[in-house]
Symmetry: C2
Subunit: 725 residues, 2 copies
């Protein structure tokens, strides 16, 4: 039965058959087939078997490239770890800073890990030059891996775009901020504008309706229908007594009424409202937002329109490459330019506030969560806590768990903030949310854990100390925090991935739905939530491990194996999930890669600056110029990669468009493109439920430009005929 | 006679007649017409008479908008000065910080100006809130002026572009970094590429020859010809003895020879070399650089090509809007992408070095140039120096003059650095040099004068002090430096403009040329150097006055009248120069405005930060949040202006291109565009001297693609015929 949760993708594709359909009734609730369990344990080799090209076909490029980030982590950190273990560990261990310190002052404590860290090298030691040299080697290796990976991903993306099938977004451009016109409706205005300014390329357009209210009604109806199904099922199982509910809010109070009758009636009421609202939206010109999807006769025409500026005022007629239809976030399509600017400024302010005020509770709880204060609060646990291993576990785990709880709530808040910012594709929303989350983790988890421990008010530190002081303060704490981050990797990283493979939440939800709502096989299919890669959450978290690995590679190399195990384990698990479970909601062809690349480089630069600070506290001041070169080189590397690769993720080159156009013309010379594109960008509430609505929407704005439209249709038809001949 | 120097532009246009041609011989050297001198004094009202629209026709948009920057200075500072005098002066003057200080410590000195400055308000005074309020008012007023001006300039630019006559650059795109191809020559490859990827728009292309060596020979020849003319003139005036020269280097040593014969022979030799080199360049495929000017059938086609990416590799086939033919800097057209990156990084490093090492001599000379050390070196001047007014003049002038000498050499160095960076238009070179010069002035003149006085090593200050300390240090010195900056404005600003109107250097050069080289009227025309607005020097200097005005508007408002007089005087003088003297070398349609706007805003933000620092030293710490809001608001304003206006200076909207195309098609349906565009982008050494060469160049690459070219010509001719009909 759980098969549907752990291999949901195959059901979606219709490849995997339902194992319970053939068995007796008991099997519906308890899977008696022991082979299933065996197979479940066998997922590791199975996950690795599928070759990459097949994986792209099966799960899309986004997921495939996402897995490559974990692989990249392995590629970067395995050689670094080998080198660090071979060179740095012996150097650190054979030095004797701690011995000196202990003879000087007896009250210094250090964990066994510290013996292997840079802390064991005394100030002013010549050995520190080995660390500088290794920092260079690690930087060059990381940059080399990043460069190669950027190149590979760029090629994969370009190949993917070149070979993918005909899709509406290849021909379509989204136009926003259409200025209001007193004489013409939005639809007419769009048509005239593009007929004049792209005379040889314009094909058709689709206006966007503000159907937010309608979508709300449809959702309400769906909810009520679920309740109705629940009560119908209940009645069918125990047909003695008709189920009742209460008329008040959420069925919690009010007088008792017959549930089935009540919900049937409510659904009918909503259906009427839905029809009325739908008619209003289609009929009312005010329901049309000043945005449209404009389709062209060729990919070349769309590429040209998307990359050029249309009018003098750059805030009007903004054209962008259209997202996939399922990637559109419809609610945000109608925002005017000025409002967008204001919203973004406000959200930037709100995010800064969130980032810095979140620190107060974290710091507060973390100062509570040390051994001494626990012993004070619960003195009877003292003998238990004081035993060696227990002590270090608590010391390590507690702050991690405190953080973890905070961080679980956060991505949703950040996603809502991104929605307020007004981006109109789900992929952009996710990448914006990921950016915020990454910044948050950087400031609050990494810097927060490093600096808060030494000085409570981080902001004040940044303002009051000189720029050369800050890395010193942070870097002094870095070696001491190694134990904390090792346990953090185990708690957050390892355990998080274990939870990921178990899919606890989807499992529970599926079984609840299965018991209460499922009647037919179709229902069961719908009850299965495949889920998708939570890019905006997973990627920034992973970046934290890149950062930790890079920072500790020269300071405490003992941390590296934990990072490596994380990447390896995560790669396995996510490969399984991507193959068997997740169903991506959209395909952006790995357009997020520049972000990934940039964030790893941010981690690299941070590691260099922290090492610089650490070395300057080690009185190796003459090493500063050597260390200052590294961030500059890294920045130049970033600039080079940006100019070399980034445009492949932002623009569609004309040559590629032309090649695809020519091939398609040769293969299908009589393709009716307008029939293919018509209705591709219809608000989802108009789709599905009543299939003919989508056609209505298009036909419906015809009468407004009826005479023109007809003559144009003829001429454009003739034109294409001529071109084809 | 001097008329040609002071009204050179009119001679160039052929409107003004030569006053000396009708008079007797004496008049050639001494202008006896007293009316000329009167007219010369009358230039002030004459300069103001010409309306702006006429000015644009007469002198171009670049110069007209340049004058508007001075006007903008007046618009910003006159109201600010009025307000500051009405509100801040009484408030400062009626307070009594200096009285308190003097009663406490007798050895404090202050100039009368300080009584009017913020220094006279004691720490912690409630009066400081008036200064904060005024900082808000000044910021809003400045931003309002800047916004209005940006809007006006944008409209002027768009109007100018929309109404300007047909120009080759409207139809042309410059393509750089054409990848090497084993089968085809550059010319063939370009033609194939654009025929395939812009099939409906491509018209013709012109390859670029690496004619740097040829240009050198042509220049040498020109130099020798001047010498020949000089000796011929000498001989004609004194026909008794043939002039002689020496055969060695620069005619300085070697045996005596007949000068006219020698130079005639040398010129012949060079002419032969020139012909040979010209043939080599045209014939040798290796002399073709991987760049080309590609012209399209319509402005729409060129706008599309310039704004889109052509191939997958963004470092190949880079397309940009073609500059005006006379704006092209030919030497830099052949640089490969990687080399450009390296050159720019190196130059960035060199510029940082230059900026900071220049400081050492400045600081050294400035410490020397105080009263005490002068009195030590020249003790006999002591009684003269010690008299009151003399003392303050020397104290003020000396550091200014020291700076001035340094700054005169600098723009040329910066221009050379920009050339090394590899930009290929003169306008970009100038704007890059201006950017560097601005940064230099900011660091060395402004911050250097402010901070060096208190602490010698500025870099160290920046590194060692905390970010909140730096503005404090700088701002402590700000009120004290008011006298210095007032004298600096007089020495650098006022005197500089007076020198500008006198045109001393061009006057001397003209007369030297006139005596030695001029024989015919044509020669005299050539001897007149109209000169042009030295944008890269003038604009950053002007920005310094914006900065000073903004910084001192709240601190020492007494400085404002000096700034205002500078702007008014400069406006008058440059309006006269632009109308009567300068002849711009190119027309960029005010494309520099975003830089001007940004730099004024940089000055505004600096003034806000310095005031913030000053207030925090005044123990008005609770005012910090009020002052922190201002830079944030200013930055948001900048972002808004950028998104709203900047694209008008970077891109050419398709709608505008389409309108111009349509109008032209209607007006001149049978225009032969390829004849018009052919030869428009020929290296200047192929032009002029032998007129038929330009045609040769184009014909010459015909045989390479002969068969194709012929058939294409026919078909494209037919195609345009069809389109026109």
């Amino acid at each position: 039965m759980n098969d549907r949760v752990y291999f949901s993708k195959w059901y979606l594709k219709g490849i995997r058959e339902n194992p319970s359909t053939t068995g007796p009734f008991v099997k519906k609730f308890f899977n008696l087939d022991y082979r299933m369990y065996l197979r479940f344990l066998n997922w590791v080799p199975a996950a690795l078997k599928m070759p990459e090209s097949e994986l792209i076909d099966h799960a899309g490029l986004d997921s495939t490239v996402y897995l490559r980030i974990y692989l990249l982590g392995l590629k970067i950190f395995v050689p670094i770890a080998l080198l660090a273990f071979a060179v740095l560990l012996p150097i650190n261990y054979t030095d004797r800073n701690f011995e000196i310190l202990i003879t000087n002052a007896k009250d210094i404590t250090f964990s066994p890990i510290d013996k292997f860290s840079i802390s064991n090298v005394p100030s002013g030691s010549k050995r520190l030059f080995v660390h500088i040299f290794m920092a260079y080697v690690f930087t060059f290796w990381t940059c080399y891996c990043l460069y190669k990976e950027y190149k590979i991903v760029t090629d994969m993306r370009l190949h993917f775009l070149a070979t993918e099938n005909r899709r509406p977004d290849q021909f379509t451009v989204i136009v926003r901020n259409i200025p209001p016109d007193t004489d013409e409706s939005v639809s007419e205005y769009v048509e005239h504008f593009f007929r004049v300014n792209h005379p040889d390329n314009y094909l058709l357009h689709q206006v966007v309706y503000n159907a937010n209210k309608l979508a709300k009604i449809v959702n309400q109806k769906k909810d009520l229908r679920n309740r109705l199904i629940y009560y119908t099922n209940k009645y069918e199982r125990r047909p003695i007594k008709r189920p009742t509910t209460k008329a008040g809010f959420w069925g919690l109070w009010g007088k008792k009424i017959d549930a089935i009758d009540y919900y049937t009636k409510e659904i009918e009421k909503l259906s009427e409202q839905e029809v009325a609202e739908r008619e209003r939206v289609i009929g009312d010109p005010k329901a049309v937002v000043p945005a449209a999807f404009v389709s062209f006769k060729s990919r070349w025409g769309a590429a040209v329109c998307a990359q050029t500026q249309q009018t003098r005022n750059p805030t009007h007629w903004i054209t962008d490459w259209a997202p996939e239809p399922r990637d559109v976030y419809w609610d945000n399509l109608s925002m005017p330019f000025i409002e967008l600017n204001i919203r973004r400024s406000l959200m930037a302010g709100a995010f800064i506030g969130l980032t810095f005020f979140f620190m107060i509770p974290i710091a507060f709880v973390q100062t509570l969560a040390n051994i001494e204060s626990i012993e004070k609060v619960v003195p009877f646990l003292k003998p238990l806590i004081d035993t060696g291993p227990m002590k270090s576990i608590i010391q390590g785990f507690l702050p991690g768990i405190v953080l973890k709880i905070f961080l679980l709530v956060l991505p949703m808040i950040l996603m809502e903030m991104s929605k307020i910012e007004g981006y109109f594709t789900i992929s952009t929303l996710e990448s914006r949310a990921a950016g915020k989350y990454h910044l948050f983790l950087l400031v609050n988890v990494f810097l927060g854990s490093v600096i808060t421990g030494t000085a409570l008010q981080q902001i004040q530190v940044f303002l009051e100390k000189s720029p050369s002081e800050i890395p010193k303060i942070a870097s002094l704490a870095i070696p001491m925090k190694a134990t904390f981050f090792i346990t953090y990797i185990m708690v957050d990283g390892w355990a998080g991935i274990a939870a990921e493979i178990l899919r606890v939440a989807p499992l529970i939800i599926f079984h609840l739905k299965n018991i209460f709502l499922v009647k037919t096989e179709k229902d069961r299919d719908e009850a299965t939530d495949q889920g998708s890669l939570l890019w905006a959450t997973f990627e920034p978290r992973m970046q934290l491990y890149f950062l930790l690995g890079l920072v500790y590679s020269t300071v405490t190399p003992l941390l590296l194996p934990f990072v490596i195990v994380f990447f390896a384990f995560a790669y396995l698990v996510f490969r399984h999930q991507v193959i068997n479970v997740y169903d991506q909601k959209y395909e952006s062809a790995a357009s997020y890669w520049p972000d990934v690349h940039r964030r790893i480089l941010i981690g690299l630069v941070m590691s260099q600056i922290l090492l610089l600070g650490l070395l300057s506290t080690k009185a190796a001041l003459h090493s500063t110029p050597f260390m200052l070169v590294l961030p500059v080189l890294t920045f130049l590397f970033h600039q080079y990669c940006k100019s070399r690769f980034e445009s492949a993720f932002r623009k569609y080159p004309l040559q590629d468009a032309m090649i695809k156009d020519t091939l398609e013309n040769a293969r299908e010379p009589h393709l009716n493109l307008s029939a293919y594109l018509r209705g591709a960008y219809i608000h989802p509430v108009f789709k599905g439920i009543e299939v003919d609505t989508s056609m209505d929407v298009y036909e419906d704005d015809n009468p407004l430009v009826a005479t023109k439209r007809k003559s144009h249709k003829g001429s454009s038809g003739e034109l294409t005929d001529i071109l084809v001949v």
